[in-house]
């Protein structure tokens, strides 16, 4: 398994998905070697072997670039960060190459590579071991770049990886469509396997009212708390969200917005909240994890996923688990597994504003959405994902052998 991050050294959903998928696979009997690009011990991970490809320390906050589109940054940053990332990637690929070459007797049933950062390593491992390559697409460069084109080099690596793969897993139909239409891959080579949620891991947390004490006092006063928990990047559509928030407040005043997370857009979002005259209604927490992360979901009444392009969006399932009513853009894959949500196009700030005001003013609507979304997430499990992966490994092995 070739990945780029695992909790707690993750900055988003990629690490979470890799962790739970691997755990469910291991529980179904798989033996997994998982390679990460940094050096850190993962004492809590007993179910697989975690290998460090470099001596670099994990960067907690922004991860190792798994989510960034370098095209969106200024030129000087592009060359600087881009080169850093490329050199880490090169070390990662070298490590994988050396490891598999030095143990010719080890047998792998499949090489499972996650996203473009590990695709080059995946291709080399396939070449050396002869094992089938499964490329798992959590996001493409089109998603990361928001509405712009993105980095051509990344597109090229993605295209090569997709062409070389024996089988492709897409985390949603939205992602499959991008792979088919924009990379020209035959639809039959791409399987949609939606992400899931591990509720056992989330159970047992006791909400602490003191974490967001001020928001709780506003709630006592009749306010509705709208949250989003995400990276502040162009992909997440937060500027549209902020404009919708301001429009909603014009119609209905008792709304507050909790923006949990951090990222390159934080400063402009802060400025925008002030420009729109709603600075006092928007709460910026900074990067959250652990207790603060869980409490951020719990304090919220409504969770908004405002992404311009979201291959899946695990936080939507996590929000459903935490009893939030959900509003999700039509451009988010999580909407394919949750039906009891409100939807809007990421650019349609009027519609989002309407939905926010309607929900805040209709307890029956709010309660119905919460209850029904809760019923839906309960049927979604990583064990189903693992079973699908195992079936897929078996079928590609057979095909490669034949």
């Amino acid at each position: 398994m070739l990945g780029w991050e695992l909790p707690p050294h993750n900055s988003g959903g990629l690490g979470v998905a890799c962790y739970h998928m691997s755990k469910a696979l291991a529980l179904q009997g798989s033996t997994i070697d998982f390679v990460v690009p940094y050096a850190a011990s993962h004492p809590e991970i007993q179910f697989m072997n975690v290998h460090s490809a470099t001596n670099l320390s994990p960067l907690h906050q922004y991860g190792f670039g798994a989510y960034d589109s370098y095209d969106t940054k200024t030129q000087s940053q592009t060359s600087m960060i881009g080169q850093d990332l490329r050199s880490i990637q090169a070390s990662y690929t070298d490590y994988v190459k050396t490891s598999v070459a030095s143990k010719p007797d080890d047998h792998y049933d499949a090489i499972h590579a996650h996203d473009w950062l590990t695709m080059e390593a995946g291709m080399i491992a396939k070449q050396i071991t002869g094992a089938p390559l499964v490329v798992h697409v959590h996001a493409t460069e089109f998603d990361r770049a928001g509405s712009s084109f993105g980095n051509p080099l990344v597109h090229e690596i993605e295209e090569q990886g997709l062409l070389m793969a024996d089988r492709i897993i897409a985390v949603s139909q939205i992602t499959k469509n991008i792979i088919v239409h924009r990379y020209g891959i035959p639809a039959e080579d791409v399987e949609v396997v939606h992400n899931a949620i591990d509720t056992e891991e989330l159970d047992g947390h006791v909400y602490d009212e003191a974490t967001f004490k001020y928001l709780e006092s506003l709630r006592d006063d009749g306010y509705t708390i709208v949250a989003t928990i995400t990276r502040f990047t162009v992909q997440k559509g937060l500027q549209h969200f902020m404009r919708a928030a301001a429009r909603a407040c014009e119609k209905y005043d008792r709304l507050v917005f909790l923006l949990a997370g951090d990222g390159e857009q934080r400063d402009e979002l802060l400025r925008l909240s002030a420009d729109l005259g709603i600075a006092d209604k928007v709460f910026f927490t900074g990067f959250v994890r652990g207790k603060q992360w869980r409490d951020a979901f719990t304090v919220a009444d409504i969770f908004v996923m405002s992404s311009v392009s979201e291959p899946f969006g695990l936080t939507a399932l996590e929000a459903a688990y935490h009893d939030n009513a959900l509003i999700i853009t039509k451009q988010s894959g999580a909407g394919e597994v949750l039906n009891n949500v409100l939807r809007y196009d990421f650019w349609d700030t009027d519609r989002l504003a309407d939905q926010l005001v309607s929900l805040a003013n209709s307890k029956p609507l709010m309660d119905t959405l919460k209850e029904n979304a809760a019923k839906e997430y309960r049927h979604i499990s990583w064990h189903v994902v693992a079973t699908k992966c195992l079936d897929l490994y078996t079928s590609v092995s057979r095909r490669v052998a034949a």
């Binding site: 003191a210 974490t211 967001f212 004490k213 001020y214 006092s217 506003l218 006592d220 006063d221 009749g222 306010y223 407040c249 005043d253 008792r254 507050v256 909790l258 934080r266 400063d267 802060l270 400025r271 002030a274 420009d275 005259g277 709603i278 600075a279 006092d280 209604k281 709460f283 910026f284 927490t285 900074g286 603060q292």
Partner: protein
Amino acid sequence: MSTATQAVVLYLHVHQPLRIKPYSVFDIANDHTYFDSHESDMDNKAIMEKVAEKSYRPMNALLEKMLHTHPNFKLSLSITGTFLEQAERWAPDVVDSFKRLVDTGKVEIVAETYHHSLAFFFSKKEFEAQVRQHQQKIQDVFGVTPRVFRNTELAYNDELAQWADEAGYKAILAEGWEPVLGWRSPHYVYQPPNTKHIKLLMKNYKLSDDVAFRFSNKAWAEFPLHAQTYTDWISRALDGGPLMNLFMDYETFGEHQWSDTGIFEFYEDFIGKWLADENHTFYTVSEAADSAEPSDVVSSPDILTWADAERDLTAWTGNSMQQEALRHLYALENSIIHSGDDALIADWRTLQTSDHAYYMCTKWFSDGDVHAYFSPYDSPYDAFLYFMNAVRDLRYRSMPSSQIGETHG
């Protein structure tokens, strides 16, 4: 003309803000202390101790020496309440040394707001309360009552001058900015429009800033500046006029211009060289006001400050974050004042200190370098976040929880 007395009116402003610590969403309603940080950039105690060592102690020692050496050396100081509180806690010897200066009878204390605020432009009532509080503090510490007024950042307009006139001040200080002065020179006493008695003293910014901003700048064509050159410049600039108003931050000496730039030696030398001519002297601001009748009426309907190329308030209120921050802060006035809670009122007033808004300034490109130097925060956005969170906590403290929503947002 050359036999008439010419006076340097040296006025130094003494202030340290209480910087807000990194105060997060999670602190709101849980932690009511905003100013007690141990992070070095925001640690008010550490900063006071540092500046006391670099500036207040050596400069007061120099001033004391000069006051004893030269019978005609005099100066004026404005000292904020926010400064005095911190100095009393962490550098009490500095307060004593200021007392010794005032006790010479040749150092005049100037009136202002206790908290170094811009309250005049947001709430007259609050502004007056802070001026009274400052007056009381100055009386308590120094046993004197100020007679001349200066507003925070030298922020001035006709309306303020009229207020100061009615309040009985004999003079008020402002920037000697050409668009306001017109053809006039800043070296004379003026009168603000629609006032009865008050006089207007205007800063010669060129010669003030030569010391305050440019003294140690190696890229400056006049570097290094010698006391004789500076004295000659003053004589030439006065061109027979009576008053050279040199107004600047006290911390110029030792903090903005470090000791190793030679700033202390330069100033000592300058004082001696200026007084070497028997027609030359120093005046306090009151003496300057009393020295002549107004030459003319000078009007500034718009707000004039001593900051930046624009000489306006944009460094404090120019961007939307600053406007939002101050709007929400001042919106709490009634509930905070009526709470009768002294600690709460003090915290609210401390958040009015203009430095907090200054740290949110985003005018990076023309004047930003100066702003960056004076900010303890990583960015203006961080300053804004911490401030807004502190305002929310103030709101939480100021009213029963069932009413927070009434004033939120």
